[in-house]
Symmetry: C3
Subunit: 206 residues, 3 copies
């Protein structure tokens, strides 16, 4: 199935970016594997815990945890190669983000919730893997810097919902249209350095 293939590409790519983050902090092998798994599977886990949707995806499918662990070890083995794959990884990262958001939207709607909760869950799934990675690496969390992630996840949820529910586009076509649109917006955001307006507040604390 298309969405499953995209999902496995997505978690592999996210696991590899997580492993590289851990490598920047000079973690040992075990820490690298933990960070890789949390980055790839953490967003979906937070979503399922918030929804009370058990079992979690990777508890029902331990093979996803095996895939992300292997991806972490492979990353350690071939780390120098990643310097030359920067553009490929930005692309795979965008594919992962859009795929995670589509799956989250579909799953939340299937559970009987409305589009507001489905949109929130798309954002949670797209953003919180990276947020957990940054908290565990003691970096300033992603929400600071790559906020466009959240905006794209929100756009994906609304577009996918409109296509499937309002326009009755068949699911596979809806996935492809949403995927192309989401990845293009992500690339445009990088190319044009699109950012949302910042809110600066300098008053001392209340």
């Amino acid at each position: 199935m298309l969405l499953l293939t995209l999902y496995i590409i997505g978690i592999t790519a996210e696991a590899m970016t997580g492993a590289l983050s851990a490598g920047r902090k000079q973690m040992d092998t075990f820490g690298v594997i933990i960070i890789a798994c949390v980055t790839a599977l953490g967003g979906g886990s937070v979503r399922d815990v918030l929804l009370g949707s058990y079992p979690l995806t990777w508890v029902a499918h331990p093979e996803y945890m095996v895939i992300t662990s292997v991806a972490a070890v492979v990353t350690i083995a071939i780390a120098p190669v990643f310097r030359y794959l920067r553009k490929l990884f930005l692309m795979l990262d965008a594919v992962g983000l859009v795929t995670f958001a589509i799956i989250a939207t579909q799953k939340t709607l299937d559970l009987g919730h409305g589009i507001i909760i489905a949109s929130i869950m798309a954002v949670v799934t797209g953003v919180f893997g990276g947020v957990l990675r940054d908290i565990l690496c003691n970096d300033v969390p992603l929400v600071f810097r790559k906020e466009i992630y959240g905006s794209i996840a929100l756009m994906v949820a609304l577009l996918y919902h409109s296509l499937t529910t309002l326009l009755h586009v068949p699911m596979d076509y809806a996935v492809i249209i949403t995927l192309v649109a989401g990845v293009l917006v992500r690339i445009a955001a990088i190319g044009f350095k699109l950012d949302m307006p910042q809110f600066k507040y300098n008053s001392p604390e209340h």
Copy 2:
């Protein structure tokens, strides 16, 4: 209903303090909204996840998430005004804390747990919204500095439980008595700079 009105005042005030924290970190609009929602609704979410009480409040009532998001956007729009509202906000913040603690106590007791667990859930609800905000903003968590929060939440749980269960005071009166008592203690704590004794331990790590 009284408690619902107080709750909505509370989450609005907490969302606004969250948005100001995000503004101090110069987050963009999306980050500000996320931090505002987490600050206002995070404590109750942690409580419900720990209790396994699904659906979470804001999943059942997405309008609460809309209220906190709107509060975040309004805060950005009228930020300079907040400099002159410091005392009002300390008051609203105290109302929110006491209200969250009362609701947590009542909900936990309704689920069939005893007063120990209800008190813990009052503390979790009162404290963890701010803790999650500080973790996402990479600040030193609140538990360091505003520990009196936890003590007040504990006091609220015990007072409210005594009034309703032991003295059979009708719920609305119990809410008002607990609210007045809790807010007064909070104001007294600020006025007299009340703090609990610190524990200092300087030995190198075990």
Copy 3:
């Protein structure tokens, strides 16, 4: 029962190490108690939330929360004594780690999951109490430095599973064998300064 006795020793020891961490950050009494409880009971809580296994251990048994709170207060009272108990605490900490991992393995298998998920839950239970403590104390999380924790938890899960499921060793004997093996490995790891190889990656961020 043997495992229950070991568990209570374990949470008491972990609560005390949590309280000392909080003391190093000069938290007040309430903060010390919160950090102690999170350190001792947080790993198991994360495990149960991930498994959707409700009620959480300490919600069903509030007395465990009382024990860890009392341990925190006792730690504040007799803090200077801890300087002379360093070796005893390393030993109790190892006992706690191995016990938590055994309980997590058994509980996860009892819920019908396989050995992969049981091993992951042993690692989560052994590691995440300390990770949550470090996040709340704003330290660099444990996974950086004491990664051997995760490896030992994994080893414990596999050894205990082999003994009980494959070799049909009675549970109490399996607990004792696993405990002795796990504690010896931990002591050896400290004595010989065993560490897993680090992964260093210096490329600028993708």
